[in-house]
Symmetry: C2
Subunit: 78 residues, 2 copies
């Protein structure tokens, strides 16, 4: 299973940025070229991004994929 720090990273950017609207869900969606629904679902953990989107996210937050997303083995794997 994959957990992410998306909301945390976004909120941090929002408070630190001179233009917080850039870091609303909608602003982030625009930066990434996806819809707001996609951001919501990822923040909720409803689904995981594709590898390509994960790369874009890491780039936007100026960090690595491994810093945004964490992979944990579940004991119940198929």
């Amino acid at each position: 299973m994959i957990v992410n720090k998306l909301r945390e990273l976004r909120e941090r950017k929002k408070t630190q940025s001179a233009t917080p609207e850039e870091w609303s869900q909608e602003g982030l969606a625009k930066k990434l070229g996806v819809t707001r629904q996609t951001i919501i679902s990822m923040e909720k953990g409803t689904y995981n991004p594709s590898l390509e989107l994960a790369f874009k996210i890491a780039r936007v937050f100026e960090t690595s994929i491994e810093d945004v997303f964490e992979y944990r083995d579940d004991e119940h794997e198929t």
Copy 2:
């Protein structure tokens, strides 16, 4: 677009391993819990893995996602 070093990494493991069969396409597929078709398609570049599979791959090759996969912007993006 995403490019990967899968084939290269797999071949290296194959020659360096005491048990090269482990690192055939089929052997790798078993390690990752996917089918051989999935390995073939990724090595060919036909499709990109999910983030979860990318994590598993990095783990199996004892390295990072960024070391296995590279993200390049194309000029022609939607």
